[in-house]
């Protein structure tokens, strides 16, 4: 019984971290249909800002984290103007090449700025404590990640389904020419959405850093992980990514508790099985 609870708790916590680091990608790649391999790069930039602000500038985490997210969005906006705008019209392979090139640029810039060692983010004391669940303890920061994940999914759902911006975004993605003929400024909508994706990437990077520490090669190290979550969740569906992240987190954790000797085979076998039966993902539109 306690094993089952352990798997559930750790799986949920790990799944929520997977969701947090991949949700930005499900906005840019899932909703906007841009194969955005530079997603991890934005997470890295956010993490690097948070590192610099908490360690070098001595700010508190609560101030540094929002600043890091805003800073990353401030980097993303001009990038969208200069580079992404040209990428939207590319074919899939060209999008892959362009955004991976962008990733290398980001890695090299961070490497030059802060070096290639670990970039730790200083947490406030309250996040370093553990909470007693009765049968075991759970680190406080994982509980914060779970709460933040639930807040992000609720916020995004409201934004996409219940606001004028969400309607316009969905219209612009489905048919840009018609949307623009109806008076929607699609250029602004796209710019804001890329910045939103980058901001979420940075948020996920900062919050997930306790498990997936920030260092210059972060974007390449975890790229497969982001892509799996979005692919299994289904393109165009944020709730799908959420379900996929939680399911993958629980499966991965269960395999490590029950059959550690099989390593990651179990995890990838499940991914294969899902994609074999539902190539469009759990809740993707074909």
């Amino acid at each position: 019984m306690s094993l089952f609870l352990n798997i559930l708790v750790d799986g949920l916590a790990y799944g929520m971290i997977l969701f947090m680091i991949a949700v930005g990608l499900s906005v840019t790649m899932g909703l906007m249909r841009v194969i955005n391999l530079a997603h991890g790069g934005f997470a890295l930039i956010g993490g690097a800002f948070a590192h610099w602000l908490t360690i070098k500038a001595g700010l508190s985490f609560w101030v540094a984290a929002p600043l890091a997210v805003l800073g990353t969005m401030a980097v993303a906006l001009p990038l969208e103007r200069l580079i992404y705008r040209r990428i939207y019209g590319f074919g899939e392979l060209q999008q892959v090449l362009a955004t991976i090139g962008l990733t290398f640029l980001m890695i090299a810039s961070i490497n030059l700025w802060l070096g290639s060692s670990l970039l730790a983010i200083k947490l406030p004391a309250v996040l370093q404590t553990s909470v007693d669940l009765g049968f075991r303890t759970l680190p406080m920061h994982r509980i914060v990640v779970i709460i933040a994940g639930l807040a992000v999914i609720a916020g995004l759902w409201l934004l996409m389904e219940r606001t004028r911006f969400g309607i316009r975004l969905r219209a612009a993605v489905d048919n840009r020419a018609t949307a623009s003929a109806l008076g929607i400024d699609t250029g602004v909508i796209y710019g804001v959405t890329v910045a939103l994706g980058a901001g979420l990437a940075a948020f996920g990077g900062v919050l997930g850093a306790e498990l997936l520490p920030i260092e210059a090669y972060y974007p390449l190290r975890y790229m497969v992980l982001f892509l799996i979550v979005v692919a299994v969740g289904g393109m165009g569906s944020i709730t799908g990514s959420f379900a996929a992240a939680i399911a993958l987190g629980v499966i991965d954790t269960a395999s490590r508790y029950l059959v550690p000797e099989y390593g990651t085979i179990f995890f990838f076998a499940c991914v294969l099985a899902v994609l074999a039966f539902r190539p469009q993902g759990l809740s993707g539109r074909a």
């Binding site: 352990n6 798997i7 750790d10 916590a13 790990y14 971290i17 490497n111 070096g115 290639s116 060692s117 670990l118 970039l119 730790a120 200083k122 947490l123 370093q128 553990s130 075991r136 303890t137 680190p139 306790e210 498990l211 997936l212 520490p213 260092e215 210059a216 090669y217 390449l220 190290r221 975890y222 992980l225 991965d252 954790t253 490590r256 508790y257 550690p260 000797e261 390593g263 990651t264």
Partner: protein
Amino acid sequence: MKRALLAGAALAIALVGAAPSMADTIKVGVIAPFSGPFAIYGKQYSEAIGVYVAQHGKAAGDHTIEFIYKDVGGPNPDNSRALAQELLVKDQVDYLAGFTFTPNALAVAPLIQQSQTPTVIFNAATSVITKESDMFLRTSYTLWQVSVPMAKWAYEQGIRTVATSVADYGPGIDAENAFKAAFEEAGGKVVDTIRMPLSTNDFTPFIQRIRDQKPDALFAFLPGGPPTFGFTKTYNENGLKAEGIRFLGTAETEEVNLQGFGDDGIGLTTAYHYSAAHPSELNEQFKAKLVELYPDAIANWASVGAYDGTHLIYEMVKAAGSDGPAAVEAVKSLEWESPRGPLAMDPETRTVIQNVYIRQVERDADSGLLVNREQGVIATVGDLGWNK
């Protein structure tokens, strides 16, 4: 085709070797990663070489020494071999050095054996390497060399049960075997041997499993950087320290990434051959020169591996110039004082015999930084894995 090329290369080398050596510049080819995720090794090596050259000049005996750096990228034996061939044939180097990863070092063994080129390993720590060619010399350490003293020390401290948890790859398994053999020989019991997939991000399941077994300590080996960081974080957060399960390790607390641990790192116990906080005049001089030349540099085990390797090359050049076999013979039993402490070459294994220290991470009162504070020497050992 490959064989023909090799034979050609060997012939070319033989011809060059036969001609009387007139050149008084001796070239040393350094093969290491200078780009990509492992670029830190190349940086540590080239900085350490820079410090040695700044302290001792470019001349060794009647010869001038020149270093040529080649970027191998990462664990890539084919590339390592190709670069070695290029250095030997095109650049006509008389010595090779560097080698961070075991496969990269193993790949050049046939080449250096043919060309009789002394090759100094700055890092690669699997015991078997130096058996593959008698031109190999190693100034780093082996996993047995540090894991066995750790096991014996743990037993002496009253630790009777240990769970080992290592990353599931060559060096991890070497460390597990070494620790288990030594700890059980001393009379202790290894209650669990966990091999964790290299791609693990969340270590909680393994840590919980160890916690449930309540051993006196856990022994860990993971590759540096993110995996080590994640593992030790998880160890702290799940209250193992509070439960009295001690953390025993080796390279986990190396200096380049040490500050990243924050206060979580305090109390981690490791057995290793170099701490940047080693209290000695030579170490202070080494660190002072390093920071003077490269303001953002941090000394770690890779730095002293390269620094002592450079010393070995200088001694070989002084003794025998470009005559490879004579050079190796000349330094086979060399003894010297290094920033890490007294060193001696072991003529049989051609790996250094050195002190292994027990260290505990603490915050230095003066600098406010985390340091590996040496608690004492636990053993002076050669490569204990040679005959395993």
